[in-house]
Amino acid sequence: MLMKTIMASTALLVLSLPASAETFRWGASRDIGSLDPYSYGDSFTLGVLNHVYEGLVRYDRNLEIEPALATSWEILSPTTWRFKLREGVKFQNGAEFTADDVQASLKRASDPKSPLKGNIPAYKGSRVIDAHTIEIDVSENYPLLLNDLTTIYIFDAGWLKDNNAEAPTDVGSGVEGFATYNANGTGPFKVESRQPDAKSVFVKFDGWWDKPQHNIDRIEFSPIASDATRVAALLAGDIDFTDKAPVQDIPRLEASPTVKLLEGTDLRTVMLGFSQRDQLISGAPNPMKDVRVRQALQLAIDLDLIQKRVMRGKSRNAGTLVAPPIPGYDAALDTPIKADPDKAKALLKEAGAEGFEFDFNCTDTLVNEEQICQAIASMWSRVGLKPKLDQAPRAVQTPKRSSGKVDVYTLGWATLPMLDTYSLTSQVLHTKEGTFGIFNWGGWSDKEFDALTEAAATELDRTKRLALEAQSLKVAKEHVLMIPLHQQPLTWATTNKVADLPLMPDNLPRLWLVKK
C-alpha cells in the first residue's frame, strides 16, 4: 500500500513537472501607456506590446531584419512593394491572419490622428492582391520601409470592426478606445489581465505560428518606478528581471550572489548641439557660428574623464554621432577627439570669442545627465568660457528646445524605431524644412549636408545608401555640427534563476527568447 502510494505520487510528480507554470516576473522601470500599440508611439510601450502584437518583419538577436508575419517581399517599382504573407497564422481570438488585416492596420496606423503616423512616413496606400499577398505604395524610392514596418503591429480587421476601433483613439475627442483595454494579436503571449501602474499579466499563446525558443508560460510585468525599490525587489527575489539597473547600484548588485548583471552599450549616442542662429538667447551675437569656436568647445571636453568618473567606466566614448550597430556607421570616423584645453583657448582667441557667456540646457532623461552637464560646464569654465547651466525636467526643457530658445543643449539619439543613420541625419541634422529637421533645435543649415541626406533618402541600393550616410556623418564631424560624447551604458539585471536572456542594444527585452 505504502509502495503504491509512493509510486503513484512519484508518477504524479513526474507528470506534473512539465505542466508546472514557469512565471517570469519583470520589474520594469516604467509602465506601458496602454494596450493599444497605436496610442502612444514610444519605443518602450511598443517593445512590451511586441510580445502580443507582431509586425510584418522583426529584428532578430543581431538586430537584423527577419521575416515575421510576411515571409518574403519584392520591390515591384520605385513606389510599390509586394509582400507575401505567412499562411496558417492565427490571432489570439482564433481569427485567421490575411491581407485584409494588414490593410486595416496600415490604415489605422497612418490615420491623421494616429500618433504612430510618423513611424511610417512614406506610406501612401495598399492593395490586397489575394488573401496572402499585399502591395504597399510608398513615396518614390523609399529604402527604409522594412525598418518602419517592424513597429507597425498587425491587428485583426474583423476584431477592429466589431469593436468599433478601426480608427486610432483620438485624445482630443474625449472618447475612449476599445483597444486601450483589450488586445488581440498574433504574438507569442496574450494579455491575461492589466492593472495600470500595478501589474500586467501575459500568458503563453499556444497557437503562435513560430516555434517558441522560450520556456516560460507567464510574464508578470510590474512597473517599479523607484530605483531603490526596484533594486530591493531584485535582491529580495521578488522579481526575476529588470531592464534598468541604476548605475549607482551596480557594485551592490555585482556583490550579490543571487543576481546576474547583463551589461552592454546602448544604441543611444549622447551628444551636444549648438545654436547656429545669429544671436544667442541673451541677445549677444553668436560666436558659435564660427567652426573654430565649436572645435574649441569640443577640445575643452575630456571624454575620458567623464567616462571614468561620471559614468564609472561603463559608457563607450564616441567619435561619431551614431553607435556601431547602426547601419551607416563608419568605424573610420569613430575616433574620439582628445581633450586639448590649450589648443581650445588658442582657437577661441583666434576667433575672438574668449570668455563668451551662453546658456547650457540640460534635462534629466539621459543616464547621469546632471553630472555630465556639471562636468562639461566646469571643463568649459576652465578654458575661460562662461556656461550658464539650465537644468530642468524634460517636460520643461523640450518646449524651450523646440522653439529654439537654447544656446547649447544635450541630446540622446538612438535612431529608434528606424535603426538607421537616416533617422539622425534627417531629423536632427538636416535643415528644418517640411518633414526634415524636427529636432534641429540649433537651427543650422548646411546645403552640402542636406544634399547627401536627401540622396540617401531615395537610394534603394543598400551599399550605396550606407556610403552616402557615412559621408554625411563625415561632413557633420568636420563641421562639428554636434559633439558626440558617448554611448550610454545599458544594464539589465536578472536573478540567477534566469538562464538565458539576450541583451539587446535597443534596450527592448524580447522575452520570446528567454530561458528560465
Binding site: 474625449g174 495600470p196 518606478a225
Partner: protein, 321 residues
C-alpha cells in the same frame, strides 16, 4: 442655520474654483505635452494638428472655463498618456489609496493612543521620556527614507513582506480590495506602517498633552480620592475625555494622509492616486493632474466643511461666525 450652511458651501465652492485656477496656472508653465506625446519622427504639421485638437492654442481663460464647466459635470476628459477617461483612472486608483490611508489611520490610533497614555502617566520616568524623544525622530524622518529602510529590513534582509505593489486584489465590482487576500494584506503592511509613522507620533503627542491636562483636573483628583483603581481611572475616566480632539484631528488628517500618500505610493509602487499623479507629472498629462488636484482639494474642502457644520450643530454660538 440655513444661511450659515449656504455661506459655508459657497465658501467651499469658491475655494474649489481658486484651486482649479491655480492648478491651471501652474500647468501653463509646466511644459509642452505635445512634445511628449508625439513620436520622434512625427512632422511639425502633425504636432501642430495635435496641439489644435487638444485645444492648447486657445486662450488661458477659455481653457480654464472649459475645464471648470466639464469638471462640474464630473467630466475630466481623456488622459493624454493612457487614453482612458480620467475619472475612470482615478476611480480605479482610489480604493488603493483609501485602503492605505484607512489602515494607516487605524495603526496610528491603535498605537498612538496607548503610547500617549503611557507617556503621560509615566511622565518623568526614563521609558516615557525615551519614547517621547524617539517620537521626535518619528516626526523628523522623511517618509521616503522610512519607506526605503522598511523595505531593506523587512523585504530584502528578512524576506518577510513584499516591498512593492498591492498583491492579489479581489474585485468587488466598483471597488478592488487587497484586504481579502493574504498577499494583499502582506503588501499593505509596509506602506501603511511607513505612512502611519508620522500620524502615530502626532496622535501620541496630542493624547499625552490632553492626558496631562486632564490628570490635573479636579474630577480625577476626586475620583482618586473615592478610591477608583488606577487602570480604570486612566483608561476610562481620563482617556474618554481626551478622545474628542483626537477624533477631530484624525478626521482632518485624512485629507492630509491622502496627499502625503503620494510619497509612500511612489516608494512602494502602490497603485493609488498619488502614483497616478506622479506618472502624470512626468508626462505632462494635464487632464490627470488637474483632476487629481481638484479631487484631493475637494476631499479637503469637504472634510473641513463637514467638520465646521458639525461643530455648528453642536455649538450654536459658532453659527454667527
Amino acid at each position: 442655520m440655513i444661511v450659515f450652511l449656504i455661506k459655508r458651501i459657497g465658501n467651499a465652492i469658491l475655494v474649489m474654483l481658486a484651486v482649479a485656477f491655480l492648478a491651471f496656472l501652474i500647468f501653463r508653465f509646466l511644459g509642452d505635452p505635445v512634445e511628449m506625446m508625439m513620436n520622434e519622427s512625427a512632422t511639425q504639421v502633425e504636432r501642430d494638428e495635435l496641439r489644435a485638437r487638444l485645444g492648447l492654442n486657445d486662450g488661458f481663460l477659455v481653457q480654464y472655463g472649459r475645464f471648470v464647466v466639464n469638471a462640474a459635470q464630473g467630466e475630466f476628459g481623456l488622459s493624454w498618456r493612457n487614453q482612458q477617461a480620467v475619472v475612470t483612472l482615478i476611480a480605479e486608483r482610489f480604493p488603493a489609496t483609501f485602503e492605505l490611508v484607512l489602515i494607516a489611520t487605524i495603526i496610528s490610533l491603535v498605537v498612538g493612543i496607548p503610547l500617549g497614555v503611557f507617556t503621560a502617566i509615566g511622565r518623568g520616568r526614563w521609558w516615557a521620556e525615551s519614547l517621547q524623544f524617539s517620537s521626535v525622530i518619528g516626526v523628523s524622518l522623511p517618509s521616503f527614507l522610512v519607506g526605503i529602510l522598511l523595505i531593506l529590513v523587512f523585504s530584502v534582509s528578512l524576506g518577510w513582506l513584499p516591498g512593492y505593489g498591492r498583491g492579489e486584489v479581489v474585485n468587488l465590482g466598483w471597488w478592488t480590495t487587497g484586504l481579502l487576500t493574504p498577499s494583499g494584506r502582506a503588501a499593505l503592511a509596509l506602506p501603511a506602517l511607513s505612512l502611519s509613522l508620522f500620524q502615530v507620533t502626532l496622535v501620541m503627542r496630542l493624547v499625552r498633552a490632553e492626558m496631562l491636562e486632564i490628570l490635573r483636573t479636579d474630577f480625577i483628583k476626586f475620583a482618586r480620592a473615592r478610591g477608583v483603581p488606577r487602570r480604570p481611572l486612566w483608561f476610562r475616566h481620563a482617556l474618554k475625555n481626551c478622545l474628542m480632539p483626537v477624533i477631530t484631528l484624525t478626521a482632518m488628517q485624512i485629507g492630509n494622509l491622502i496627499a502625503f500618500a503620494l510619497v509612500t505610493e511612489t516608494v512602494f509602487q502602490w497603485p493609488g492616486m498619488g502614483m497616478l499623479f506622479m506618472q502624470a507629472v512626468t508626462f505632462v498629462d494635464i487632464p490627470v493632474m488637474a483632476a487629481y488636484l481638484c479631487i484631493v482639494s475637494f476631499i479637503f474642502v469637504a472634510l473641513n466643511t463637514v467638520v465646521d457644520i458639525a461643530y455648528a450643530v453642536i455649538d450654536p454660538r459658532l453659527r454667527k461666525a
